[in-house]
Symmetry: C2
Subunit: 207 residues, 2 copies
DNA sequence: CGAACCCTTGAATCCTTTCAAATGGTGTGG
DNA sequence: CCACACCATTTGAAAGGATTCAAGGGTTCG
């Protein structure tokens, strides 16, 4: 019933305010969910990792655009078909409900960050969050036994995308990264590579 | 199975990070969902109106506190009982799923506001949002036939709560209200009363 | 090798916050 | 019924943090 599809980095899968025609499961890769204002400001409102569900079932339009951050593979379904199928399979709806509730919790925690945290706090919170999210998905560069938070990882985001996630400008993000490096809290081996040198300091900064 | 309960204005119903012991339906009144930082900053992450569902089913802890903004009546259920009951009634789970998806959409739209909008834009967006939300709930002071957005209404929030909703300080909120009044966009008959004089201007300001 | 792009850095500006004080409305008690 | 105290809100001035505008590296890819 579902159709496999690849989406290359930067390519859109769903457009904001479009008719909600399809839903999908992420098999591999990372995608961003965004909303935009008329004048082009963008806010990333969610990030989808492997096994995450994307799209808007039971609704006419989707409230966010979905764009691949990395090359990705997804399993897409026509929304109509999915809706019908879901209503006939309570187990599936229950799974979806649990996921949606968890996503809502995450989203609300992010609202705290957007509304009340300073730039340094946002960056620190972001790095700790990535360190945990990426550890669960084999995106980590450090093949370790247990899957605690990753000490070293590669961000699936450009600086601009980090800014769009945190509600900052690219310049502020860059400056905060530079400061954390200068203070010896993190190392930045590559543009998108992060190594946490002092997790305690980062947690203290996260507010 | 559910027990009716009244919650007076300012009284908490659920504590952040507490074990999720109960869920509830709002019968009457308005409640806020909040998260806080260790140092006391607060962010309102949701507002529950009559017929809204609150609490965290299928989870061990609730991510937000719930506090009544006005005197309220709710119908509470033990989470355990509710979880069991829901799993046996797919129709209920479906309803809950639809509501949760809608709430997630609203929450994501609010992230745009928190992350990317200026203070004037936040206030304008807020007033338009209230004008629509309150119209649906008989909270309106203007007994009209059709239920379009309300022209006049009473906020269920203090200035500080508006600030906590928009990610601003109370002083900034006050100044923006004053400016809107001075510009003739709104009238402020009472502390919590708003009358929209120029909806078009408000929409232009909302960004 | 050059061009394009992304990221970093610098300086000035602006918006929001912070700190402080005044105002106004409310409720109480004399 | 009026005086007073209390609390929310408003207003002012100063400070600060993030943005804006501008320029300068550094990578990557044709």
């Amino acid at each position: 019933m579902g159709r496999r599809r690849t989406v290359s980095a930067g390519e859109p899968l769903i457009w904001e305010d479009d008719d909600s025609l399809l839903v999908a499961n992420v098999i591999e890769g990372v995608l961003k969910l965004t909303t935009s204002t008329a004048d082009g400001r963008e806010q990333i409102v969610g990030v989808a990792y492997p096994s995450d569900f994307i799209g808007r079932p039971f609704g006419q339009t989707s409230a966010a655009s979905v764009v691949a951050l990395t090359d990705a593979r997804v399993c897409v379904f026509a929304r109509n078909d999915f809706d019908r199928f879901a209503r006939e399979h309570p187990e599936l709806e229950h799974k979806l409900l649990e996921r949606t509730l968890a996503e809502l919790d995450r989203t609300r925690a992010w609202m705290m960050l957007l509304g009340r945290k300073s730039a340094p706090e946002k960056i620190a919170t972001f790095l700790l969050d990535m360190s945990e999210r990426l550890a669960d998905n084999g995106c980590v560069h450090q093949p370790g036994a247990q899957s605690g938070p990753a000490r070293q990882f590669t961000l699936p985001f450009s600086r601009q995308q980090v800014a769009d996630l945190l509600g900052l400008t690219i310049e502020t993000v860059s400056r905060q990264f530079t400061k954390l490096k200068a203070d010896g809290v993190v190392a930045l081996p590559g543009r998108r590579d992060v190594e946490i040198l002092n997790r305690g300091a980062l947690m203290a900064l996260a507010g």
